[in-house]
């Protein structure tokens, strides 16, 4: 099958020759795989409010991961303060909803805008500072935001946390989950378009070498800012959805630990790969939410004296996460994306086995920081 420009077809979805018998079988298989994925996602919403709530958490984490992926995976800038961006969106969404009574969709938009704006501020700093020092300053930025902005009394609703009430139609857990799911699907689509457009290529060039990017005509300053802004907007939406999920904004939720979790899940998932990052994020969301209520794990914790058992339930997932990260860095630097690559390639119309000289997302996070 030719892979020249003609093969793109009009919409890129149907390739010429796709209706030949053997191609039909393969494409039929792919269609089934996609349907299966969709069915699984839908099924989460049908399995009762608890499962739906876990699904919502997973969706929010996936959005956070996708947003971090834009600056870390695509543009190669290491940010350790991402929880600050998510929190900013969460804070303002809750605030405009409760203090000003704006409707839910507007609150989401406000989350996106405020997230984007704070990210742009960080981006300005990133223009002059790079590498290790950027990691440090974003870390301090995240902490500072948590200590100052999130503690302002206008936003905190007096210590107990600002409320963020869902509209009545979204109160049922499964409905809210479907809303979150839709947002994730939407962002994934936009992200896929981003990577296939000139902006996505510009990011990749910047990550590779800023001088080379400039020689190719890329306005490095502009695109770096764009990357941060887009990242911030998605982070803001994630935060807003999170506020409405818990129906409350609590500043201390967005602490240093969360910053580490975000980085961990992006790296374990495979920075630079959409599918990998989503998989990694879901894994960590499940780790934290689901495991604590998972039967066999509970029995395991029960083997220990009560206090230790409780500690294991609460903090065990963090330990597992840290170990996963270290194992990933040592043995699987491309993250889950490496394992998922054949599947992803097949499902998007390519062969299952890699042809010679195909990209493996090996160590994309590792290239993220220039000395």
């Amino acid at each position: 099958m030719t892979t020249g420009s003609l093969a793109q077809g009009r919409s890129g979805l149907i390739r010429p020759g796709a209706l030949a018998p053997d191609a039909l079988a393969a494409n039929g298989g792919r269609a089934l795989a996609w349907l299966g994925l969709a069915a699984a996602a839908v099924a989460v919403g049908l399995a009762g409010p608890n499962v739906a709530r876990h699904g919502t958490t997973a969706a929010v984490y996936a959005l956070a991961g996708l947003s971090l992926n834009i600056i870390l995976g695509y543009t190669g800038q290491l940010s350790l303060g991402h929880q600050g961006l998510v929190g900013t969106g969460a804070l303002f969404a809750a605030y405009v909803s409760t203090a000003h009574g704006l409707p839910f969709p507007v609150a989401l938009a406000v989350g996106a805008v405020t997230g984007g704006m704070s990210a742009a501020l960080v981006g300005f700093v990133a223009l002059r500072i790079s590498g290790l020092y950027l990691a440090l300053i974003t870390l301090v930025f995240g902490l500072t935001i948590e200590q100052s902005l999130f503690e302002l009394s206008t936003f905190t609703g007096g210590g107990a946390g600002e409320a963020a009430n869902r509209p009545a139609s979204l109160l049922p857990e499964n409905r809210y989950y479907y809303v979150c799911l839709l947002v994730v699907v939407g962002v994934c689509y936009l992200d896929s378009r981003l990577t296939r457009s000139k902006a996505g290529r510009a990011f990749k060039a910047i990550k590779e070498d800023e001088r080379v990017a400039a020689a190719m005509g890329v306005n490095v300053v502009g695109y770096k800012l764009l990357a941060f802004t887009l990242s911030g907007m998605v982070a803001g939406v994630a935060g807003a959805l999170f506020s409405f999920a818990t129906q409350q904004f609590v500043g201390s939720d967005f602490d240093f630990r969360l910053a580490l979790v975000f980085v961990l899940m992006t790296v374990v998932g495979g920075a630079g790969s959409r599918a990998g990052v989503v998989a990694g994020s879901i894994l960590f969301a499940v780790l934290h939410d689901f495991i604590a209520s998972f039967g066999p794990f509970k029995s395991f914790a029960g083997l220990f004296p009560t206090q230790t058992g409780a500690n294991i339930l609460q903090f065990g997932p963090d330990l597992v996460g840290a170990v996963l990260l270290l194992l990933t860095l040592a043995f699987n630097p491309g993250g889950l994306a490496q394992q998922l690559a054949p599947v992803v390639r097949w499902m998007t119309g390519g062969p299952f086995r890699a042809p010679a000289g195909t990209a493996s997302p090996a160590a994309p996070a590792a290239r993220a920081v220039r000395p």
């Binding site: 700093v125 002059r128 100052s148 201390s252 240093f256 630990r257 294991i312 996070a365």
Partner: protein, 315 residues
């Protein structure tokens, strides 16, 4: 006259004293950070957790938790130092060495992972239990500068604060001596050029272990002078679970002093202590987290306008 002294003390002396004592604690961490930066070219985010682990062991020994019988304070401190050093060594053997060819970003993320790892282990042990208070050093003796122990404008301190200053001075002196010995010079040589050092016969492997053990020891010492007088909490030095810990201040202090300079690490931390003290004072109380804003601002200014810090050189 006495009243004037007291009020001068109150508005200037107290913040200075406060800032310097804090700076000593941060300086100890900062020295460890700069050491690793010179040796491996990365920021060691786990530096704080070497201290927290030391604190955990020390507190357990003092309170007789887990496998420990109740032990006297000095013994507990020594155990803590050993524990912290061991953590440093373990990190080097199991994480840094295997990843030694990896790009810096990987190592950076790895140290963050190590930090989370140690913090989780501590959390598994004590969880959210805040009842384990490490006794203030030297009992409850109180001293005062710029006034008596009871006057509001005086700087009141105890042996814990004295220890912080003494430890830093001792470490600074030891550092000067150490870096003239074979081992110290070996560390400096390897940090400049491992291949050349190897050619000259320096055992790079051993030096790497030594460097990280040293970092562990320094971190442990910092943790042990941070915890007295307060409850032990998992991740206290890094602030992973507690909000902000001395680690962040140490990083900023190290940057302020110029990351390439060991004396810069404590000069920078002391300077940061003063900035934090005075800045915190003049920040309006209506702005929450004024502290954090001041140090964030400091870091921003340094990185944007004088990235080599106060004492650093362009590498």
């Amino acid at each position: 006259m006495h009243a004037v002294m007291a009020s001068v003390g109150g508005s200037i002396g107290v913040p200075i004293a406060n800032g310097l004592v804090n700076g000593c604690l941060w300086g100890l961490l900062a020295i460890g950070i700069v050491l690793i930066y010179k040796a491996n070219g990365i920021f060691n985010f786990a530096q704080g957790e070497f201290g927290s682990m030391a604190a955990l062991i020390a507190v357990s020994a003092v309170d007789g938790l887990g496998p420990f019988p109740k032990l006297p304070l000095p013994v507990a401190m020594v155990l803590g130092l050993i524990a912290g050093t061991a953590c440093g060594l373990l990190t080097e053997r199991l994480v840094i060495r295997p990843l030694f060819r990896a790009p810096r970003a990987t190592l950076l993320v790895a140290t963050a992972g190590v930090a989370l790892f140690f913090a989780s282990i501590q959390a598994l042990c004590t969880g959210t239990d805040l009842s384990h208070v490490f006794p203030a050093l030297g009992g409850h003796s109180r001293f005062a500068l710029f006034g008596s122990v009871n006057s509001p404008d005086a700087y009141v301190f105890g042996w814990t604060q004295i220890t912080r200053v003494l430890v830093l001075v001792a470490v600074a002196a030891l550092a000067v001596v150490f870096f003239r010995t074979r081992y110290g010079l070996g560390i400096l040589a390897v940090s400049q050029d491992p291949v050349a050092a190897n050619t000259v016969g320096i055992n790079v492997n051993r030096i790497s272990m030594l460097t990280w053990s040293l970092a562990g020891l320094l971190g442990a010492a910092a943790g042990l002078i941070d915890v007295p007088g307060g409850p032990y909490q998992p991740g206290l030095v890094s602030g992973i679970l507690t909000g902000v810990g001395p680690l962040v201040f140490a990083f900023i202090g190290a940057v302020l002093g110029g990351m390439t300079s060991l004396p810069g690490a404590f000069v920078g931390s002391l300077a940061l202590g003063l900035i934090d003290s005075f800045g915190g004072r003049y920040m309006p109380t209506s702005v929450p987290g004024g502290d954090a804003l001041v140090i964030f601002g400091t870091l921003l200014v340094v990185l944007l306008f004088r990235p080599t810090g106060l004492l650093g050189r362009e590498t």
